[in-house]
Symmetry: none
Subunit: 539 residues, 2 copies
């Protein structure tokens, strides 16, 4: 079994139909480069002529020298018209793309209801449009919309559509399950029957996830002989999404032994998926198969002790094969062995039988009980563990903060923060403004620290999450704040919990700064032998 499968990525076209997914031309260029590096065979860039972003994309992508074929999307010509005069087909030609995806109807019901034309005219629309693009030297991928619904309703007509497309010279005949309602055994049955009608046809598959079966439907089609697979990264797409290439590629290559993108490239899968989710500005679900942050995470105590003995006991593949990694979660359920293995990951010398270790494990459990969650706050956890190991030099201590939010009818809201900290025996008092309370606190604290720790200059907060922990007491309930911070090279996460959202944010902010200063043993003015100034400094 080393049949090769060609991968057609439509993240940049069908993916953008997903709720909340939108890419600038620049985003599209970045994603195309990343997809090319992953080794997909086709990158569908958009609909040329439909909007300025897509026009710009097709213009810029030509100069990048990508290996993947850039593909432009469009429909067959309008009814009762001439292909050579069709605006949409002309845009495809002008885009300069090497390949075109042409969508056409294959469900007789749709020909009547949506196109409002005859079955014969639809066949001509398909034939003419493909012939026109082929005669201009393009590779043509024909997407037969609603193919499976069409086949169930009128198999003869659905087959005649593919057969007409082939006659016109289409390079791929792609069967689309546009509504996502077809089941795997149906796909297998229909593709198998089709092999009889159209022997040796270059068949492709395009599925949607409305029944949570898009990946299974794709595998089913491939197992019945299809060799071209369309999908999107992270399954982005309209309604429930398109078939998720991040699951399909490893299923085909790692599990079923097809030649897809090769052993080296697939190691970039996790990284590529996360990069694209960053650009899309959509959180990747932690439980996303293969590439999610929890895909190889272990929480249960029994599982963890077995995993540490032999990872095959609870892992279906080695996570490294797809560029992911095993994570042992710190949680109430699992406890000590988890924390020890975390500490080892951080390169800490950590003797689990020591009194120190027992104390810090007790402390972590207690904090978890209060609502802290270290699964998403590695930096706060690392601070606790290093502290227990005596490795943390506290470079500043907290004295007080005040936070004021003021709003008068008809005028913008104002947020101010006043922070007092102590560095090397010296009290520093600063004020900061912001367009929200946390922003104001961040500005005030940063102002206090920057003069002593200029290395903080290049860090900034990059994500802020708030969760109410117990909805029973409502505004009096506990709140958990998670903060992500970044500098030029790293990102780290910290946590704070309190009945008060401002206090919880403050805790997470302070941890973020402490983490950024790990390894530094004194303020820079002490390192440079300056004298600490006396008294309170106001800024």
């Amino acid at each position: 079994m080393s049949k090769s499968i060609s991968i057609f990525d439509t993240t940049l076209r069908d993916g953008t139909q997903g709720e909340g997914i939108s890419f600038s031309a620049d985003d599209k260029i970045k994603i195309a480069m990343k997809l090319d590096a992953l080794g997909v065979h086709y990158i569908e860039g958009g609909i040329p002529g439909s909007n300025s972003k897509d026009i710009e994309f097709f213009k810029r992508v030509k100069d990048l020298g990508l290996n993947a074929k850039i593909t432009a999307f469009g429909s067959t010509r309008r009814k009762e018209s001439v292909a050579a005069h069709d605006a949409n087909l002309k845009c495809i030609l002008e885009s300069g793309a090497q390949a075109a995806t042409l969508v056409g109807k294959s469900w007789d019901f749709h020909v009547h209801t949506a196109l409002q034309t005859t079955l014969e005219e639809n066949l001509s629309m398909i034939f003419d449009s493909i012939s026109f693009l082929k005669s201009s030297g393009l590779e043509v991928i024909f997407d037969a919309e609603h193919f499976f619904d069409g086949y169930k309703n009128n198999p003869e007509y659905a087959v005649s559509v593919l057969s007409k497309a082939r006659e016109a010279g289409a390079d791929w005949l792609v069967m689309c399950d546009t509504n996502g309602g077809t089941l795997p055994h149906e796909i297998h049955g229909i593709v198998t029957a089709l092999n009889g009608h159209l022997p040796q046809a270059p068949l492709g598959i395009h599925t949607h996830n409305d029944c949570e079966l898009a990946v299974a439907n794709t595998l089913s089609a491939v197992q019945a002989g299809v060799t071209h697979v369309q999908g999107t990264m992270n399954g982005y797409g309209e309604r429930c999404g398109n078939a998720n290439l991040c699951s399909i590629i490893p299923n085909l290559q790692v599990k079923l032994g097809y030649e897809v993108i090769g052993e080296n490239n697939i190691r970039n899968l996790t990284n590529t998926a996360r990069y694209i989710s960053e650009i899309a500005n959509v959180n990747m679900p932690v439980n996303q198969p293969y590439v999610g942050n929890a895909a190889f995470a272990h929480k249960g105590g029994i599982h963890v002790s077995a995993i540490l003995r032999d990872s095959r006991t609870y892992e279906h593949i080695e996570p490294e094969k797809v560029g992911n990694k095993q994570r042992i979660l710190v949680s109430e359920l699992a406890g000590q062995s988890n924390i020890v293995s975390k500490a080892q990951d951080m390169g800490l010398q950590f003797d689990p039988s020591s009194q120190q270790a027992k104390t810090v494990i007790g402390k972590i459990k207690d904090l978890e009980h209060q609502g802290y969650q270290f699964e998403g706050a590695d930096a706060s956890l690392e601070l606790l563990l290093r502290e227990a190991n005596g490795e943390v030099h506290e470079l500043f201590t907290f004295e007080s903060f005040k936070m004021l939010v003021e709003k008068t009818a008809g005028r913008p809201v104002v947020s101010e923060a006043f922070v007092k900290i102590n560095v090397g025996g010296q009290s520093i008092y600063t004020a900061g403004e912001g367009n929200g309370p946390v922003n104001a606190l961040d500005n005030a604290l940063r102002k206090a620290l920057l003069q002593y720790f200029p290395s903080l200059e290049d860090m900034h907060l990059s994500d802020y999450k708030v969760r109410v922990l117990d909805d029973k007491e409502t505004t009096a309930a506990r709140v958990r704040v998670l903060i992500e911070s970044k500098n030029a090279v790293h990102s780290w996460n910290t946590v704070g919990v309190s009945g008060n959202v401002i206090e919880a944010s403050w805790e997470a902010l302070v941890d973020s700064m402490r983490y950024a200063l790990l390894g530094q043993i004194s303020p820079e003015w002490i390192e440079h032998d300056q004298q600490p100034r006396q008294g309170i400094i106001n800024h």
Copy 2:
């Protein structure tokens, strides 16, 4: 085809292994009641004896008189011990559950590596444990862990495990794909072979989603003859989650015609799924099949016009069958018809062609664009619509608020709010404290209003949610606050959006009070002919 399938829900046990999923005993009781109303056949409640929440759950659930069988989870007895003395088996008996799920090993590799015992002893552990529980009158569901990996490695041994469990009287023999690595065609092949080895055996299936195939694997097993299906609501579970019952139930019942939970119950599917995600305090992915908010949403212009002509053109089932509904995104025409239908739901006379209607529809779209979301804030939407209809009497107006949070090292954080509003020409200035800023604002505003509107006495905030809308700008990003309020009979939801979490909370708070006062036309001191007092009143 009207074979019936028994549904075994393990949201409360295996589901809690999911990252970020944790339920109190109270949560568990609420979910069990909701699952029972949905008509699932088994509800696995937890691991009795493992923690106090599960113990409390089993104690309380007995009195609810649910139709579903409550099931307690545990492992087969420890090696080289006696079942009747096994602490874990005794806990199951003491829990008072009607049924027990017993997990046992069926992969020889695991018997050696994880249990570190002999294949024979493992068979005895299974036989003894099941016999012991059966002799105490429990129904026993045997979960054969890693069954498919076991079968691939040593089919004879895997079969002997099931056969031993059956001999001991197990009511269901459940094949688990514990690592989630098995593919649908493998499941189909193995279950089919098993039908030969163990004719007429009452087989069940339990899958995980590590290859994004848990739903397909379950269907595959059912199509090969399995009649008992284990899974969780929304697919909660360790790593990539368990098989998602919210997709499996409609696939089996609506698509394949099995008898599962009945036509009426399945209309509660969307509602149940969303309720459980609320209790879990986990956002439901908008693109979740069948029950997600985008599952029947249409964005593309061509799709939308076809959908409006005939919804079968782009919908694989009628959304109402599973209690969901069609949503048309963006298109102006569609937005309008949605709002009109909402207004009608509220019993409002609302002429969509009037200038008033056009103005409010424009306003709502603009607010949505700013990040307001009225799906979860019906009361705020109703206020906007009634306002447009001239039905809202503004009983108070906002003048200003100040909110102060102060924290000094070693002392508890203090939150104070100062609110100035105007009732009937009279300025009222109040102060309130709270253990968080929103609590303080709520207390101050309530103090100002209560003297004029004593009917507010019996309302209180019952839920508070914060969402950061745009994580690119972090602490300077926009924040959406959703507040749920309750009185003795009703609950209602309001929304606020701002760059400032305090201002967003204030907006939602004020809307909540305004909604509570709908229908009242003047302060009660005016109704009672009292004289309004002059000047500012300080409390």
